[in-house]
């Protein structure tokens, strides 16, 4: 071989400080695997839970530091502008870490009860959380895709870990096949975006689309459509929601909570970053499609929820309708709308995690017919009140965070003069409330002979439910701090 001149390799500058939150999570995952491989006996569940909690808390402290940095010095990006460090990415990092801590605590009692291997579950949970953070922070479509896959692959396995239940495996296969399918859509969308704009970097795409007028923008339209379909699968927006009821029902309840909160939040983070931030100059092209999606999702979520008899299926359709509300905020394509979407996702995370905490603790995690909840108001009054508050918050009753969230979303639509969608949102909120009230009625109105035998709850479940109910009421009564937090977290694409 000819002599080659050895040039020093100069890589892109890396802001390691900004990468620390997800590196802590990955480090904890590796530590758990190493300890569980080296330990002579079965690794104890408390050790694993404590490791995950420590990782989540340390990560959260780092994220708080990053938030203060961004508020002081303004947003930036790192690694050749592929990784955004703005209020948006840190907002979602915090949301994901809160969900991680709650899921880790919930699984503490749950994994032993259901005989699931704790170290593997937590290692996957941590990897999936790191993937979600990467997905929410990525300023580059390929990096975003890697984050999405890391998030999803962890989820596929976590759903299937419920050995005892055939349904868990079935739902894992369903989610895997449809997830792979939607990934293909997304990837094709990324390829066409690259074809239309010459880059996968969102900053470059935004600048290019702002500066260039296409003579023929069919390629870009196809790219937008494919990206939208791929992400709609992930956030379970109708008509791409068909996997949701089966998968939510089959998955172990803490995983359902994780999927409903974090997979949806990360999906919306990607949606907002791509469409609101990068495709901003073409909002005339994509807002009508998103508003139709929102309308269909609202109606399907509200109407189909009424027809269900299994509580987990009801909550699956309720999560579909929540996706509809967030889509209303997305289609507004304004800073106000995006802040409303962020507020909605943050409060929704707390509501849905608390709800699935209760569902997961209702005896053995098999089917959840409504009859199982009969008499809960008599046998366990305090927790029944907690569950009621969480369900009413999802319905959007005043004094809970759900009301403020729905109010802001509808206000964003009204300010955008989209009165039809705002009206539809209010009607479906009423229809949806019927479903939540059905569960509440089942808990309180019971006949004497029906005795619900609910085993005593693990302390960690109680902590999660109390914390989630507390936050839901707090954000409902004094929402201002969270509204300001969301307003500071609107995505900003900026070169590093």
């Amino acid at each position: 071989m000819a002599t080659q001149s050895v040039l020093a390799f100069v890589g892109p500058s890396v802001n390691w400080w900004a990468l620390l939150p997800q590196m802590i999570l990955l480090g904890a995952a590796l530590l758990i695997m190493l300890v569980s491989a080296l330990a002579p006996k079965q690794t104890s569940t408390p050790f694993v839970t404590v490791t995950t909690m420590c990782a989540a808390i340390t990560s959260y402290i780092v994220a708080t530091g990053l938030w203060n940095d961004v508020q002081r010095d303004g947003p930036s990006s790192s690694i050749a502008s592929a990784f955004g460090i703005d209020g948006f990415s840190i907002f979602f990092t915090m949301l994901i870490l809160v969900a991680l801590a709650a899921t880790a605590l919930l699984s503490h009692g749950y994994l032993d009860k259901e005989g699931i291997d704790a170290p593997e579950f937590h290692a996957l949970l941590l990897c999936s959380a790191a993937g979600a953070i990467v997905m929410a922070s990525a300023n580059d479509l390929v990096v975003m895709f890697i984050g999405l896959e890391a998030l999803s692959i962890g989820l596929y396995v976590m759903i299937a870990m419920h050995d005892r239940r055939q349904e868990a495996r079935e739902s894992a296969i369903k989610y895997f096949v449809l997830g792979a399918f939607s990934s293909a859509f997304l990837l094709y969308g990324i390829a066409l975006t690259y074809g239309a704009t010459g880059s996968t970097n969102l900053i470059h795409i935004r600048d290019y689309l702002g500066a260039v007028v296409f003579r023929d923008q069919h390629l870009l339209m196809a790219a937008m459509a494919l990206l939208l379909v791929g992400l709609s699968f992930k956030v379970a927006a109708a008509p791409f929601h068909f996997w949701a009821p089966d998968v939510y029902q089959g998955a172990p309840s803490p995983v359902t909570g994780w999927m409903a909160s974090v997979a949806k939040a990360a999906g919306f983070a990607a949606l907002l970053r791509i469409f609101f931030a990068a495709f901003a100059s073409h909002r005339i092209d994509w807002t009508p499609i998103v508003s139709v999606l929102a309308a269909v999702t609202l109606v399907v979520g509200a109407v189909m929820a009424i027809l269900q008899n299994d509580v987990k299926r009801m909550l699956a359709f309720s999560s579909v309708s929540h996706a509809g509300y967030v889509l209303i905020a997305v289609q507004a394509a304004t800073d106000q709308g995006t802040a409303a979407a962020l507020f909605y996702l943050f409060t929704y995370t707390f509501m849905v995690l608390g709800t699935f905490a209760v569902v997961g603790a209702m005896g053995r995690d098999d089917d959840h017919p409504l009859a199982n909840y009969a008499g809960l108001g008599r046998s366990r009054p305090v927790l029944a009140i907690g569950f009621t508050i969480l369900l009413l918050a999802q319905a959007g009753i005043p004094t809970t965070s759900g009301f403020v969230a729905k109010f802001q979303v509808i206000a964003a639509a009204v300010n955008n003069k989209n009165y039809v969608l705002a009206g539809l949102a209010m009607i479906t909120a009423v229809v949806g409330a019927f479903m939540y009230l059905r569960i509440v009625m089942a808990m309180y109105v019971d006949n004497e002979e029906q005795k619900s035998s609910v085993p005593s709850w693990h302390w960690s479940t109680k902590v999660v439910v109390i914390a989630m109910v507390g936050f839901t009421l707090l954000a409902g009564l004094v929402p201002q701090f969270l509204i300001e937090f969301a307003e500071d977290a609107v995505p900003i694409l900026i070169r590093g």
Binding site: A8, F9, L30, L34, A37, L38, L219
Partner: protein, 121 residues
Amino acid sequence: MSELLRSYLTVGIFGVAAIAMAGAMLTIARILRPQRPTPQKLIAYESGVDPVGGDWAQSQIRYYVFAVLFVLFDVEAVFIFPWATRLEVYGTFGLVEMAIFIFILVLGLFYAWRKGVLRWV
């Protein structure tokens, strides 16, 4: 029609020609050949042996584990080869990066080994 789509026209014409050709050959064969159906002709072809049993066969799952591990280290090799050819250029940074990459993969193998996945039952 844009230039991009026009270049796909060739692919379209090629596809239509392929379907027409295959269709024509099968149709001609159908018209020309003698037709004497017998029950034996409907048996699934098994290289001359009569097929026995159902069509639902189970294969050993243990091969699958090794296939997954093979793919894992195959991909690792794909990453190591280009890195190795440019080792001096990447310097310490590249060495540390590759060490982390290999450490994570070896940890996975170690975990699988300790959990008894590699045991040939």
